[in-house]
């Protein structure tokens, strides 16, 4: 399988930062806050690889930096240091050195993001179909009939009733809002999909169907995904490989079944032991 993404030494510091920031924070220091300068180190020296069609899981508790990683990759947050290379066909793009217009282009065309909070991924002032149309317009599909047909196809694929495509997603249930978000993210058939706690807070039955949908999409479209979650069950079901993060650092990585059955780090052992 071809490599699609390579991240090296990704860090993000909120605050002035100082030479001691990394030393003063992380899993061993058991804090995100640098004692010398008061900066918050959200992510520290994160490296990862992602191959075509692969699902990579990132687990950790709140504040571990897992969301920060996908947010910087989707250009929602700026990294303080590090590199990310995206391999697209025979092109190789250095994500963080691209200008804003190129970054926007990638967001609209080649990346998809599904947020925990549908407010972030959807525009509630337009209809469900309109949300998808927006993304298609940004990616240069301009024919009205074609856009409408594609929106209907996508919503049907993600099991949102076609006859509700003209309603605002505000009136949808949480599970349906996530489906519309997934449909919107998939509109441009992106080779890279980022999923940030997409099933958190949903009913178990709704969770199960969203997770099934994600797996089906992976099979059908061979989309590479990074799945961020605190839920070990989600990781077990979806991810082939997993990173475990704590206080901004990756403390352990491996094949998902190995991380869950033979965790090496003390924190991962505690995490696995606390699972229901």
């Amino acid at each position: 399988m071809k490599k699609i993404l390579e991240v090296r030494g990704l860090s993000r510091i909120h605050g002035p930062g100082c030479p001691l920031c990394f030393e003063n924070t992380g899993a061993d220091a058991e804090t995100n806050v640098c004692a010398s300068c008061g900066s918050v180190v959200a992510a520290q020296d994160v490296s990862l690889d992602l191959h075509q069609g692969e699902i990579l899981g990132i687990v950790g508790e709140s504040g571990s930096g897992k969301s920060t990683v996908v947010k910087t990759l989707f250009f929602d947050a700026e990294p303080s240091a590090g590199e990310a290379r995206f391999f697209d066909g025979d092109q190789q793009l250095d994500l963080f050195s691209l200008n804003a217009a190129r970054q926007r282009w990638l967001r609209n065309h080649r990346f998809g993001m599904v947020y925990q909070n549908p407010n972030l991924g959807l525009n509630f002032n337009v209809s469900a179909g309109g949300n998808i149309a927006e993304r298609l317009l940004m990616s240069d599909v301009a024919n009205y009939a074609r856009i409408r047909q594609r929106a209907r196809d996508l919503l049907t694929r993600t099991e949102v009733l076609g006859e509700r495509m003209d309603e605002s997603p505000r009136r949808f249930s949480g599970g349906m809002q996530q489906r519309v978000q997934i449909a919107k993210a998939l509109a441009t058939r992106p080779p890279l999909l980022l999923l940030d706690e997409v099933t958190t807070g949903l009913d178990l039955s709704v969770q199960a169907r969203i997770l099934d949908l994600i797996l089906e999409i992976q099979h059908e479209l061979n989309t590479a995904m990074i799945v961020v979650t605190h839920d070990l069950g989600v990781i077990r079901l979806l991810a082939g490989r997993t990173l475990v993060m704590k206080y901004g650092q990756v403390i352990e990585s491996g094949l998902t079944d190995q991380v869950l059955e033979d965790p090496q780090h003390a924190y991962t052992q505690r995490l696995v032991a606390s699972a229901l």
């Binding site: 490989r241 491996g254 094949l255 059955e261 033979d262 090496q264």
Partner: protein, 236 residues
């Protein structure tokens, strides 16, 4: 004949940080598996039989030793050291693992679970279903169960679904962990026949059997494991 799998000096221990303990699981294990032959692992409970299989599949990280696997192109990979991507590739293409219990989603049908490995290899859905049905029939799983999720099946039925999933894609190396522990004599018989067939097809098998008579009937080589010696804590 060159071995398909050649394990030497394999040891596994667990370091439990919370309890500050080192738990030995298996030590100094030496095993070979040849194409078309079955090597049986025997030994008392706690001698680390299952751990050896899990180390080969890399569900456990081996603590020391080498696990050399020879692939179709005669390329040798040390499974103890190989990259995660190489392991995933070998799991998809080469190495099958039938564990004692069936772990699956409670909402998938027995047939869908069975054919998963074929779909992962890119076999068409229609062809996969045909092969899945044949195998389930051969393992005497009643046809009325094929469309149902195995959650409500008996232990023996679940075990045969698990076997079917492990065998359907004909791995080159098959790891079997007590595949017949919940089967009655009749179905154990059909499983034994099936194992004979796939041996003749050239599949190399490393197996732990619940029934000693199966070892006698099917094994070309038997390796007896001893309970591992306690491990000394690493100096800090």
């Amino acid at each position: 004949m060159k071995p398909l799998l050649d394990i030497d000096g394999l040891s596994k221990h667990f370091q439990l940080h919370e309890q500050q303990k080192l738990i030995p699981s298996c030590s100094a294990v030496k095993v070979t598996v040849y194409p078309g032959q079955l090597t049986a692992l025997t030994g008392p409970t706690g001698s680390g039989k299952s751990s050896v299989l899990k180390c080969i599949f890399r569900t456990y990280l081996p603590s020391s030793g080498r696990i050399l696997y020879r692939d179709q192109e005669d390329k040798v990979t040390d499974l103890a050291q190989a990259s995660e991507y190489r392991i995933l590739q070998l799991r998809r293409r080469d190495i099958g693992f039938v564990t004692q219990f069936l772990h699956c989603l409670p909402r998938k049908s027995a047939l869908d679970i069975t054919i998963e490995p074929l779909l992962a290899r890119g076999v068409s859905h229609q062809e996969a279903q045909r092969r899945g049905r044949d195998l389930l029939a051969q393992l005497q799983v009643p046809e009325r169960l094929w469309g149902l999720p195995p959650a409500t099946f008996s232990g023996g039925e679940k075990q045969r679904i698990n076997l079917a999933r492990g065998l359907v894609a004909r791995p080159r190396l098959l790891l079997l962990d007590e595949p017949t522990s919940s089967l009655d004599p009749g179905t154990t018989q059909s499983v034994a026949e099936l194992i004979k067939t796939i041996k003749q097809e050239g599949v190399g098998i490393l197996a732990i059997f619940h029934h000693p008579e199966l070892v006698k009937r099917l094994a070309d080589q038997t390796i007896r494991l001893q309970a591992p010696a306690p491990v000394m804590p690493e100096p800090c």
